[in-house]
Symmetry: C2
Subunit: 243 residues, 2 copies
């Protein structure tokens, strides 16, 4: 499945996202009119991501947010109850959104499942790049209990990866030299790189499908190659003596 196909089969357009955001928290907003609220929430969230990405959420002031959104302080406070809650809502919404999609990944052949998990993660993090970046950088703002809640989508992804790898190891498709847990631990930072170092990939004109292709090759090799570094490590001491 390519990125385009993913976008056509999942509710990941901008209007889908911000509309879902309103619905999730509507009972706590002072504003009740959805048609009015959604565009403004969109403005507020986009501005928050922009300012947070360049200076961090903590140093972003609500005055800056007003300027960026062309709203007044009073107007802003009709949509957010506090600066802290704005951050909390972003974490909570993202977590819910990711769980909904990752949970739907079918569990068939391990290679197929693994590819789908990886592609879906990259695709979601593309569509919600500012959200992912924000969540990664600003997770400190959360209290321990809130953090535990917001991390659930991460845990789900990790357990699904481990499950697929273990399945592949049972079927003897994948090597068992490294544990499924530690391989999953290596896969995740590879995927995070797509939204954390976005500018790097933009600069190099790497498309999202190129990135997926390259990551999938790299991971697939890490899982299937019969080679082991063991021999390499053992000869290493001899090499050092040669110096």
């Amino acid at each position: 499945m390519t990125f385009d196909e993913f976008c056509q089969t999942h509710p990941v357009q901008e209007q889908d996202i911000y509309s879902a955001f309103f619905d999730l928290f509507k009972q706590t907003f002072a504003i009740k009119n959805k048609n009015l609220a959604v565009p403004k929430l969109k403005k507020i969230l986009k501005a928050t991501f922009k300012l947070s990405a360049t200076q961090g959420f903590a140093t972003m002031t609500l005055r800056q947010l007003c300027q960026e959104t062309e709203m007044s302080m009073g107007g802003l406070y009709a949509y957010i109850n506090s600066k802290k809650q704005l951050s909390l809502y972003i974490h909570q919404f993202l977590n819910q959104f990711v769980i909904n999609i990752i949970d739907g990944v079918s569990n068939n052949h391990p290679e197929q499942t693994l590819e789908e998990l990886i592609r879906y993660h990259v695709y979601i993090s593309e569509v919600l790049q500012p959200w992912f970046f924000f969540a990664f950088m600003e997770s400190k703002n959360l209290s321990p209990s809130q953090r535990k809640f917001a991390i659930q989508s991460e845990l789900l992804m990790e357990s699904k990866l481990v499950e697929a790898i273990e399945e592949g190891q049972k079927l003897e498709i994948y090597s068992t030299i490294l544990s499924a847990t530690s391989i999953a631990a290596h896969i995740k930072p590879l995927l995070h790189d797509w939204y954390l170092k976005r500018w790097k990939y933009m600069q190099r004109k790497t498309t999202i499908d190129d990135f997926c292709f390259s990551v999938l090759i790299f991971i697939n090799r890490g899982l299937t190659s019969p080679h082991s570094l063991h021999e390499h490590s053992q000869t290493n001491e001899e090499q050092n003596h040669d110096k």
Copy 2:
């Protein structure tokens, strides 16, 4: 080379580090007495890392820093000129420190060079874990020109990785399906994971040499395996039809 051997052959003990920190910036400190200054700087830096890691540098207040270091505001200001400069100095020192070590990596056989680069990076990031974590999370605080300067150690590491991989590809030790640049781009986040998600590895009781071993196997496979995902991707569409 194991982590222990690395520590014995490089100036990476705590006293080495904080002493070097004082030397690098001594002309700008109000304090001139090194024996007095080094322990206090150590206290200040450690407290800064601790507070920043849990709440972020931006929300850390100098009053918190005073409490943590058992100093007064006035006393503190004998060691730092401003909050901003404290952050800047951390970035600059780390950058210098990493360059000094990475630049010394010998350029012999590509496999050996690659292993040494990777091990050294992990080993430095172990010894200076709080510094690396700080630099990653707080790089926003830097102005563009300062950031450009502080990123030089990253660029050096990256260019050395690419150089070694290209060398290996020329010698036909490594596959050329993926470019050296994109492989290097995959290696870096794997290494960053060691200091970014430290708690995860602590919890799992993964030792640093275990981590290096596992990463080296994974990378080595990614470089050498003859397998290509190409066949897999091509058959993927057929698989989808099967559903």
